[in-house]
């Protein structure tokens, strides 16, 4: 299935520091359904590495990581239903 731009949820965590970016990812994941695509935009350096770790731990799919100077965008797809 192709992804439509309009269906992507965007969550900004610019300026936020540990543990807020991770927490916001978890909040968004909990509210999502199977197949949903969520994009996170932030600039906390450690979270660029740790969000993919959390996504993998929870069994979801990491679609894309983009970097633009200090800013990053991480796109994920939800797999399965959250308990």
């Amino acid at each position: 299935m192709g992804e439509k731009e309009s269906e992507i949820e965007r969550i900004e965590v610019l300026g936020e520091t540990c543990p807020v970016p991770l927490v916001e990812v978890r909040k968004a994941v909990r509210k999502s359904s199977d197949g949903d695509i969520i994009e996170f935009i932030g600039d906390h350096p450690a979270s660029k590495k740790e969000i993919p770790m959390a996504v993998e731990e929870m069994g979801h799919k990491l679609l894309e990581i983009e970097e633009d100077n200090e800013k990053w965008r991480i796109k994920i797809q939800i797999k399965g239903v959250e308990g």
Binding site: E16, P19, M58
Partner: protein
């Protein structure tokens, strides 16, 4: 993912409560179940309007050290403890209050933040939860 983390907060100092809530929120964010037990001086922080009121564990300097650290934290945009606790509860973390501490220190349920406390319990509950946990910490 699965797994569980069980933390004891025995200390009431601000920096230690920060550590507990940051680790707790981090573990929840990684998909784990998390229980935090507040006991002894830690339980003081669950009294109404007391969450942010602990001193620094070192270099408090009658509050001057704490003031400086709080200033630095604000500059670094670190979330306040109140927000961390709110996130913790929202993500399904459990807050447990030690009932023996309540008895020893003369703390009544009405003195505590009943809105965030999941359960009032004793050591048996902790041991059972810790036994099921991959991560246990005493802070």
């Amino acid at each position: 993912m699965s797994g569980k983390a069980t933390l004891i907060v025995h200390s009431g100092e601000m920096d230690k409560v920060y550590s507990a809530l940051i680790i707790g929120n981090g573990a929840l964010s990684m998909g784990m179940d998390v229980s935090i037990y507040f006991t002894f001086w830690g339980l003081e922080r669950l009294k109404k309007d007391q969450l942010e009121n602990g001193p620094l564990s070192r270099k408090n300097m009658l509050g001057l050290g704490k003031w400086m650290v709080e200033k630095k934290m604000k500059e670094a945009n670190v979330a306040p403890l109140e927000k961390m606790l709110e996130d913790f509860v929202e993500l399904g973390g459990k807050i447990l209050a030690c009932d023996m501490t309540m008895e020893i220190m003369g703390i009544e349920k009405g003195d505590l933040r009943d809105d965030v406390i999941t359960e009032y319990c004793a050591v048996g509950t902790y041991v059972k939860e810790a036994k099921e946990s991959e991560i246990t910490l005493f802070i």
